[in-house]
């Protein structure tokens, strides 16, 4: 087995035993659908326009879930390693530090995808309850949005979160930084829900904006080509924070407590 996957496997096994963190992540992933369900139950969003508002709200929570659904493992596997002083022994192994980062990224992405899957199930459940016609008329678009939009965004979010967390010396420091970072998809998503005219084609290549555009546009066919290009751009963009995180891990001061 490649040593990158050895790191990934260890991180997944280690974090899967952190029950409190798992429950907290699951609650975060289901928070959006839960809130939207409450709004739909309050009967303040009836009709087609109301359904679109519900979908807009769900899309923002889904963005956050994909981008920041695995911040606990991102923190624990980087800043946490520094804090409990296990980073030094780890780096003593004959494995390039870039492989260490990629291994951790695979693990963080895996947890982000689980959070996203949970969130997507919640989205489908809420739509089935509150706006079943949307599930029928926009099913293909929702699939493209999740598969080509949100899945690559989970990979990008994992890379960005890892980079920020590896700069931090303690999990507390990382927690503060990553919570701020989680506002980024929320702010962008909310802005585009309230100002949909900004979801024009010129922006669709920009991660987060592009993902929101995929679900906001109303076209007769699902935007598959647009989604595929966005997926590619988002995945390529993930490389930058990973390279930056590897460089941080190569600095001498990374070993200081």
């Amino acid at each position: 087995m490649s040593r990158t996957f050895v790191v990934a496997r260890k991180e997944i096994r280690d974090h899967a035993r952190d029950l409190r963190s798992l429950v907290s992540s699951a609650m975060m992933a289901l928070m959006g659908p839960g809130v939207v369900l409450l709004v739909s139950l309050s009967d303040r969003a009836p009709g087609q326009d109301g359904a679109r508002v519900l979908l807009g709200m769900l899309s923002v929570f889904a963005l956050v879930s994909a981008f920041a659904g695995a911040i606990d493992i991102a923190m624990d596997s980087t800043a946490g390693e520094r804090e409990r002083r296990s980073l030094l022994p780890l780096l003593l192994n004959p494995i390039p530090r870039s492989d260490v980062i990629v291994g951790k990224w695979i693990a963080v992405t895996a947890f982000a995808l689980v959070a996203l899957a949970l969130n997507s199930l919640g989205v489908v459940a809420v739509l089935a309850w509150a706006a079943p016609f949307l599930l029928v008329t926009r099913a293909q678009q929702i699939v493209v949005w999740v598969v080509l939009g949100l899945v690559p965004l989970a990979a990008l979010g994992a890379a960005v979160n890892l980079f920020v967390a590896v700069l931090c010396r303690t999990t507390k420091e990382a927690h503060t930084a990553l919570r701020f970072l989680a506002f980024l998809p929320m702010l962008v998503g909310m802005f585009l829900v309230f100002f949909p005219s900004w979801t024009g084609r010129a922006w669709f290549l920009l991660p987060i904006v592009g993902q929101q555009t995929l679900i906001a546009v109303r076209e007769p066919s699902a935007p598959v080509v647009q989604g595929a290009i966005l997926a590619l751009v988002t995945l390529v963009a993930s490389v930058l924070p990973l390279v930056a995180a590897s460089r941080v891990l190569n600095r001498d001061d990374i070993l200081s407590a």
Binding site: V7, D14, E81, R85, P89, L92, P94, I95, D252, L255
Partner: protein, 241 residues
Amino acid sequence: MIEVRQLRKRFGSVPAVSDVSFTAPNGGITGILGENGAGKTTTLALICGLLRADEGSIQVGPGESTPIERRRRVGALLDHKGLYDRLTARENIAYFGRLHGIPPPSLQTRVQNVVSQLGLERIAERRVAGFSQGERMKVALGRAIVHAPGHVLLDEPTNGLDIPSVHALREILRRMRDQGACILFSSHVLDEVRALCDNVVIISHGRVVACGNTADICRQAHCPTLDDAFLALTGREVIPS
């Protein structure tokens, strides 16, 4: 054998190691002795390829001596606090075995050998959270030697350990030495160095000020005991007893 020549390392404007040269032979325990901040830990980190030296050469065993190659040949215990609490002792050790590229068929045997060698059978399947300092040290040492390295580096390994754990560690190190390993460990505890080391390297302010066996050191410093020699060589006043 570990051979270090004219090693220099600065952190920004602060010189951590200014001129360190020594040789640690196979089948021997070499102690690096120095005050806090003398440059012992930095020297060990440079030898095992964790930090890059600004100047100087490091040779660990025969042949190529790149940092990654040195990490392959060395088993280093620079901190015994850094274990993964949610993994069992056996899983902690096996993880490092996998990172060293030990293939699965022989990994189980290697891990079992280390568990037996360090007397970890009773706690091998327990998660590390809640382990005593001595148990943590043994697991960390097991992790460091799971790939059966010919060179073992330890940084103040007895810090925070109780007397039985210190004795157990000394016994393990003597056994490894008798099997031909080159053992290099740093300490600022003179008794420990006296009890364990065949050779001593004294570092002060990032420089080697003396090296040899205990008798050589005392002769170089013109002092009757290692304690007096250490104080004299590191520029401290020797208080007559």
